[in-house]
Amino acid sequence: MKGLGLGSLLAGYPGLMFANTDTDSRLVLFILRGAMDGMSMLVPYGDGNYSALRGKLALASPGQEGGVLKVDGLFGTHPALQHTHELFQQKQALFVHAVASPYRERSHFDGQDQLESGSGENNFRRDGWLNRALQPLASQQGNEQAIAISQNTPLILRGSQAVTSWAPSKMPDAADDTLSRLESLYAGDPFFSSRLRQALDSQEIAGDMSGSKRGRGNKQKQQEELIRATAKFLSAPNGPRIAVLESGGWDTHARQGAANGSLAGKFAEIDMAISMLHRDLGEAWANTVVMVATEFGRTAKVNGTGGTDHGTATAALLAGGAVNGGRVLADWPGLSASNLYQGRDLYPTTDIRSVFKGVMAQHFGLQGKFLDQDVFPDAMSVPMMENLVRA
């Protein structure tokens, strides 16, 4: 298996499960906040009930104007996901559909917490599953293995393992001498000292990517800058191997649009981000998995304001040179009235944690036992999804 280094040799020795592992494997996780409409990311155009349910929001079949990009007889990607579709055809992307966390209510905030904490149905953990998974991945240099491309650390990366964060700055740098005096002042206060240390480590790698100092810059430029920085961090020899980015604006209650419109614009952003990572990671792309996930999906039927409301099952995407792609992994429940969850939502048939487990096991060599006991302790009965990553 690729990129496991020391870890694979030690696989048979449970006592050495937590040996430090340097890895070539990279993971970029996009958390889409606001409940992304999975049925518009990977469109079930071939499902007989789709058009009637979605009315004016329904995307057209492949070949028609504004139609989906064909994946198979049932599914096609949103037309804005052009690069992603190309990756799919090159077997470097796969989709998972009708997937959800165990969360069955409809609060964004609790849903996101559950997605990020990897909790089960009945309890909420306060740390992130990805943070728990970092334990065996601590690099020998002691640098943080994971970075949040954001000022603050999202729940998925919070916990006992040290991580760092970075976001572009438009302010002049503080002098080194001032910073070192602050390090002394913070010495007795772990909350401050640990964060300053992490920030200084990131600043070293980010180098002069200090953000355009003129004006606010437009949104697309800002996004490009974040992606460029992500690629730089993941390519740096002593840098992190896991990056988490967040994207908002997915809560399309009104005027969602179909082939064009607000949601199409969001898909175009994600597609561009994946395309830029592909380009900027260079050789490292072959060892990369990009994962796109959201807290839950949206209603099967269009609502009264040209949008959709909070639902249940949604879609997820894996893209990257390391992905065993060109497939849709879905136990498709269908969209007939009797097959909708609570008569309104796409029915969840796969637990997203099985995808997470699969990626962490196959891409980073984490042991099944460790994943079951430490990373996803509430998901013992959730089977790991196999063959997500190339051998």
Binding site: R33, G55, K56, E105, R106, S107, H108, F109, D110, A148, S150, Q151, N152, T153, R158, T164, S165, W166, A167, S169, K170, M171, P172, D173, A174, A175, D177, T178, L179, R181, L182, S184, L185, Y186, G188, D189, F191, F192, S194, R195, L196, Q198, A199, L200, S202, Q203, R216, G248, H253, A254, V302, N303, G304, T305, G306, G307, D309, H310, Q342
Partner: protein, 485 residues
Amino acid sequence: MKYRWLCYLISHDCLFTGEKMNFDTAIAANRFGLGARPGELDRFEKNPKTVLLDQLQGPSATPAVLAQLPASDKVLTEVLEVRKAQRETKKMVGEGQIPADVPKYGKLVRSYYIDQAGARFRYAVETDYPFHERLVRFWSNHFAVSADKQPVSALAGLYENEAIRPNLNGSFLELLLAAETHPAMILYLDNERSIGPGSMIAQPRRKRRANKRDVGINENLAREILELHTLGVNGGYRQADVTAFAKVLTGWSIGTDQGRFKAGTPGAFVFREAAHEPGSQVIMGERYQQGGFDQGVAVLRKLASEPSTARFIATKLVRHFVADDPPAAMVERIASVFLKSSGQLPEVHAALVQSPEPWQVPLAKYKTPEEFVISTHRAYDQVPGRMNIVIAALEQMGQMPLRPGSPQGWPDTAAQWGGADALYKRIEWANAAARQVGSLRNPLQVGEWSLGANFSEPTRTAIRRAESVVQGTTLLLASPDFQRR
């Protein structure tokens, strides 16, 4: 005994005078208030609790900087007209240029946004009622709207002034009603076009006027009232209750003098009977048979009186004033005051002051970026010249004013604000601020009048050893003493 022992550790001065270190004044100004201005700690000296309670009423007249802001109905009407005209012009010119004399929507809303962000920031820096203003900000964050959605960006500051600020002297129900009937909230949560399927508007029209528009219910407002404004996510409601409540709220909309459904004052709240779903609704086992607007009021009245609501609000208040992990005993106490007083806000707020828990040291709350920047301006008695720069700095630190990005509002825990990069941004800002004002004042003095008893010996030492007054100022502002409240 406790105070004198701490004296020996903290300050040479105490060794000599043996004076009791008064943490209460620092707490009153920095935890309950917005950060001490020069001389403010002295005003608290005699009886900090009484001084705070006196602030609860707020100023007797609307402060000038806020009074000069325009009314939200006028602003909303104006920006919608400009947006419409701009879209029509764009259709006409197609790929061509929009003529220079056509007002630009984006520029207009941004100038309103900056005016409002500036006015409330300036007031926060100048006010002699900082405890009241902190409560205004708490409640406008509880009933959050966000300026990243159009056209709410032109209204968010006005919403705070019109719906929140004047309504802290009565009951929670009054505040709740004011918030949920303000056009900013109606727009933010998409209720203006929520139409009951059985309502007059929804009935099929004559065949020859084919109706291209989807009409139907939008659940967003109903859900967020239950989940975020009253009961809280564990308050015991189910999906069916959300749907029923959404039907109750159909018709809660915004006035317009154009089109088929004109009603009310343009840009102001109107109850549009023609959009309202007729009939009774059952929510959490209770049947609401009232007609029209009263139906929604009745539901809100019930929600405001629920123990879940009292507990949810109490938890948030205690988290805000005491610690990220709110002490259970105080939450119980505040919830009980809430229920017993039928949600009278002055009593609930007074109970915060009268509880022992917020008066304890060490400081447990990590300041948000806004709190950090406001308290710095107060410490230096500096009103910002150009609000754009403050807004840009706050955006860098992750808290662009009036833009929490979701109806949940800004978070209130160190875990959520305490990213490594966020701290680094604060240090950079402290550095930039120090360059501007650092040479005007001795940072040791600023630390004294702003932090009082919480100005610790390690911080004083670091400042004394700084290579320049400017560097000393950076160290003061970036110190854990100043970063916490």
